[in-house]
């Protein structure tokens, strides 16, 4: 299934909101969504929720023979899967561009930064090493997959315990969980990706873009960092042109965010440890909230809604009530009738404003003006007669199409229908106006 395209008005709305430094979910420019980390019953299994984006991470291990050129190093393997469960636009089993990009980014972020001591994964040099596999599944897609995936990967790796082994001569003994306590991996540092979305050719910047914001963004900059403020990966993508200062500013912001997230991860790991030790209940079932409407608990949005009612009332009281339209059919020519004056159709803005652009310029202003005049337009039309309100030459109210009756009514009918559908909204009014101008 192909992705549903974003409508033009939705796109404009989002961009306009971003210009006004507002986000749909009430966050500030540099805010992250809520991060929630929950662990499964097994070691090395976790679900990370970033807002509504959910990623499941599972680590597994296996004894294999090492790569030829690295005889004393264990093998790390990362795989991110974008299943159709997460969003209908993902195609199963296909290496899309996005998937390649995300997988490589994860690999570079976690493997190339050497956050895991791979030499400690060696059992017998040149013969047996541990292969650690990190499988990440995107469960729900609501934007910013890479951040969620990188957190899930590092949390799962921190949580993972591998079985203990001992080597005596040529013999390798693998102990089960009951025989010996499993061993955690040795992790040097925790790199975490932070995404920055750029809008309007880099004029505006947002941290942690949601799915909607990702659709309208121009480009993305991902910076992976650890809490010691060491940059592990930088990757820019999308067709934006960055400037050096922007990159440096982003790296400063990333530093702050990473410290916060690392603290959260450590707290989550500690909590899980404690619960396991005490023998309490743990696992996904305990932590998964029921997200139906009937659930008792609702998550509160971080928006200040204290004075919403007063404000709404203010707006209502200030607004003028819509005057009643007296329906009195007007007969222009035999065969045609019209009721009222009609208000300009605000749905057709795009075409109209473009046309207006051509002969007036400044389409934006025109749109606002039109919107404001709509109220007065109705009033005037109710009070005055048909001839009076020509003052409103800016709005297009007085421009109506008169269908001239012809001798062959049947033929004309089909013609006029097509004419009103195709030409009327765009071409005819403009022509008319031009004539009027010439007359003036």
């Amino acid at each position: 299934m192909k992705e549903t395209p974003l409508s033009n008005c939705e796109r404009r709305f989002l961009l306009r909101a971003i210009e006004e430094k507002k986000r749909l979910d009430g966050r500030q420019t540099y805010d992250y969504r809520n991060i929630k980390i929950s662990f499964g019953t097994d070691y090395g299994c976790c679900i990370v929720e970033l807002g509504k984006t959910r990623v499941l991470g599972q680590v597994s291990c296996e004894l294999v023979s090492p790569k030829l050129n690295r005889a004393t190093e264990g093998i790390l393997f990362f795989n991110l899967e974008l299943s159709q469960m997460a969003a209908p636009a993902f195609e199963p089993g296909r290496q899309s561009d996005l998937l390649v990009k995300l997988n490589r980014l994860l690999e570079r972020c976690l493997r190339n930064s050497k956050c895991i001591d791979t030499e400690s994964l060696c059992v017998v040099a040149g013969e047996k090493v541990w292969q650690i596999r990190v499988d990440l599944h995107l469960l729900n897609h609501d934007g910013n997959i890479i951040d969620a995936a990188s957190i899930a990967a590092i949390v799962a790796l921190c949580h993972f315990r591998r079985p203990d082994v001992s080597v005596q001569g040529d013999e390798v003994t693998l102990y089960t969980l009951e025989e010996r306590d499993p061993v955690p991996l040795s992790i040097h540092h925790m790199p975490i990706c932070v995404s920055f979305a750029f809008f309007q050719q880099g004029t505006y910047l947002l941290v942690d873009p949601s799915e909607r914001e990702e659709r309208v963004m121009d480009g993305l900059l991902v910076i992976a960092m650890n809490k010691h403020r060491e940059i592990c990966t930088i990757q820019s993508s999308g067709g934006i042109m960055l400037l050096k200062d922007q990159v440096l500013r982003c790296s400063k912001i990333a530093g702050v965010k990473v410290v916060e997230i690392t603290e959260l991860i450590q707290k989550a790991l500690e909590n899980d440890q404690k619960v396991r030790k005490e023998g309490g209940k743990f696992g996904f079932v305990e932590s998964m909230a029921n997200q139906r409407i009937t659930a008792f608990k609702m998550e509160k949005a971080p928006i200040d809604t204290s004075d919403v009612e007063e404000k709404a009332e203010e707006i209502i009281s200030e607004a003028e009530p819509p005057s009643e339209v007296v329906s009195k059919p007007v007969l222009w020519t035999p065969g045609t009738a019209q009721i009222g004056e009609g208000i300009e159709n605000s749905w057709g803005h795009l075409e109209d404003s473009e046309k207006e652009d051509e002969d007036e310029g400044g389409s934006d202003e025109a749109i606002i003006l039109d919107g404001m005049k709509m109220d007065t337009g109705v009033e005037v039309s109710n009070i005055g007669s048909q001839d009076a309100p020509i003052v409103l030459s800016d709005s297009e109210e007085e421009e109506m199409i008169i269908l001239e009756p012809d001798k062959n009514p049947k033929k004309i009918r089909t013609q006029t229908i097509s004419a009103t559908q195709v030409k009327a909204p765009s071409k005819k009014p403009v022509k008319k106006r031009k004539k009027k101008r010439a007359a003036n």
């Binding site: 990009k101 190339n112 930064s113 060491e230 930088i234 990757q235 050096k244 790296s251």
Partner: protein, 244 residues
């Protein structure tokens, strides 16, 4: 523990200074069949780039973009290009990523809106990889695109940079890359100083980022000087041949 990458006197393993580039030699118009082609040597890194287009969309017509040209990039590196023989020249994750990055770089640089509903193919082949393959590919592709006469905002010049003992090194060789230090690849539009692509690997403290970025940018500008000379020379030769 390993090799000393920067000596006390400030020389690198191959005798260069910290900000010095390797020798760049380039040639445009190396193939007759292609619309544009170029060959570049940056030290021992050798790359070949070929450009076809703008032409009609090949394959599925649904990929056509109504407002701009589609840029299609394919990266492959010869099986004999690296120390160990590669199994297959393209199709692995790394090559796919490189292709994506090249596409992104050139989508930003080429004035794609001038050729709506058409396609521009850029094929890059690395013959010998001795560090800075991404940079060599971008530079070769820039020359090839120029040779094809496709309008661009500016040259795209790329260069890599590293960081050793508090000093930023420009244009890393394979030995320096393999040492495992941080490495940064930058594609720059030299006239405006805009960054078309930025990529970095391994650990580097945030405080040093600016220094490395600056070194890479300066090296990219140096590359631009060299490429500009190559283009001018090529144009001169071509005009002599035409008898103007």
């Amino acid at each position: 523990a390993g090799l000393e990458l920067l000596s006390d006197q400030g020389y690198r393993v191959d005798g260069r200074r910290a900000g010095e580039l390797r020798k760049i030699q380039a040639r445009m118009g190396v193939f007759a069949q292609a619309d544009g082609s170029a060959y570049i040597e940056q030290g021992n890194t050798k790359a070949l780039a070929v450009v076809y287009g703008p032409h009609e969309i090949r394959g599925s017509r649904a990929r056509a973009l109504p407002d701009r040209a589609l840029v299609n990039c394919q990266y492959s590196s010869a099986t004999f290009s690296t120390g160990e023989r590669k199994r297959r020249p393209h199709g692995d994750r790394k090559s796919c990523e490189m292709g994506l990055q090249l596409r992104q770089t050139f989508e930003a640089a080429i004035l794609t809106q001038l050729h709506p509903r058409s396609q521009i193919d850029i094929y890059v082949q690395v013959l010998q990889a001795d560090g800075g393959t991404y940079a060599a590919c971008v530079n070769a592709a820039t020359l090839a695109v120029l040779d094809a006469g496709i309008p661009m905002r500016d040259f795209v010049c790329a260069c890599s940079a590293g960081f050793v003992d508090g000093t930023a090194l420009a244009d890393l060789s394979h030995v320096e890359e393999a040492a495992g230090g941080p490495q940064l690849a930058l594609a720059l539009l030299p006239a405006s100083g805009q960054i078309a692509l930025l990529e970095m690997d391994a650990r580097l403290h945030e405080d040093h980022l600016e220094q490395v970025l600056e070194a890479a940018a300066r090296a990219s500008r140096d590359v631009h000087t060299v490429l500009d000379r190559v283009v001018r020379q090529h144009v001169q030769e071509a005009s002599v041949l035409l008898g103007d």
